[in-house]
């Protein structure tokens, strides 16, 4: 089966014949798409938040280390 054939078959199996039909989904579009939209947002948050957390923490730590190395060794307060 050539790639062209495969694409043609895929195209035949497409349920929706136009973008409008896809968006509308016979009246259920609003529901389906909003569900998918919310899911996408939540999944993105799930993936990006830990990444951001790690990056931010490491940057903060790097700054802290730099500050400590820059200044003469001081013992923490409490006098």
């Amino acid at each position: 089966m050539s790639v062209a054939q495969w694409v043609a078959q895929l195209d035949q199996n497409l349920y929706f014949r136009s973008v409008d039909a896809l968006l509308d989904m016979e009246g259920h579009g609003a529901f389906v798409w909003s569900a998918y939209l919310i899911t996408t947002l939540v999944v993105l948050a799930m993936l990006l938040l830990p990444l951001r957390r790690k990056r931010r923490f490491l940057r903060q730590l790097a700054g802290e280390l730099k500050r400590r190395e820059g200044s003469p060794r001081t013992k923490g307060g409490g006098d």
Partner: protein, 205 residues
């Protein structure tokens, strides 16, 4: 009781007496506090020192006789440090002084630094040690504009260096025209300045 040089008096107590739990703690106690005075209230546990201070501050009214004339703003710091465990020292202090006057954040920070809490401004107060807890409260002294201070055992939990520094502060305050009434079971180093009220006898020294 004589109306002599009364113009300058910060506080005048007339014939105070107090009965608590069926016991008379003191009676006929009269004294006047003038700028430049440092009064230490002395007496054993349960003599009525705290009660007297609270009467002077106007917090306690039941069971006492006599009159207190308050002629100047006061700052009362009681036994309890009034430091909220959930708030940071900065937030605690900001709230404490909010009633008296708007202090800038820089002044609050400076006061915290002066009591040795530099670097602890923004940790939750519950992680502070007992003495640091107390120091948050004492930082108010550095911000206060009240001429009369009423301090109930201010040295509790404070280390030696802190006590010395606090005594210095009291001395400065007194010499700058303020007055202090305090209770403490520790002897002050500033003995030449201090006058005493001995409570067990109910007499004014």
């Amino acid at each position: 009781m004589a109306q002599g040089q009364d113009g300058a008096a910060l506080l005048r107590a007339d014939a105070l007496s107090l009965e608590r739990g069926g016991r008379e703690l003191f009676c006929g106690l009269s004294f006047t506090v003038r700028p430049g005075q440092l009064l230490q209230i002395e007496g054993p546990n349960g003599a009525g020192k705290t009660s007297l201070l609270r009467i002077l501050a106007g917090l306690s009214r039941y069971g006492f006789g006599g009159r207190v004339h308050r002629q100047a703003p006061q700052l009362y710091l009681g036994h309890h440090p009034a430091v909220k465990a959930l708030l940071t020292p900065r937030e605690n202090l900001a709230w404490h002084v909010a009633g008296e006057g708007g202090h800038s954040d820089a002044r609050i920070e400076a006061a915290l630094e002066q009591v040795g809490l530099y670097g602890y401004e923004d940790v939750p107060s519950m992680t502070l040690s007992a003495g640091q807890h107390r120091r948050v409260n004492l930082a108010r002294l550095y911000l206060s504009s009240a001429p009369l201070w009423l301090l109930d055992e201010p040295f509790t939990a404070i280390d030696k260096a802190g006590v010395a520094q606090l005594e210095q502060l009291l001395e400065n305050h007194v010499q700058g025209g303020g007055a202090v009434i305090l209770t403490s079971h520790q002897a002050l180093q500033l003995t030449r300045l201090v006058e005493f009220i001995h409570l067990d006898a109910g007499l004014v020294a």
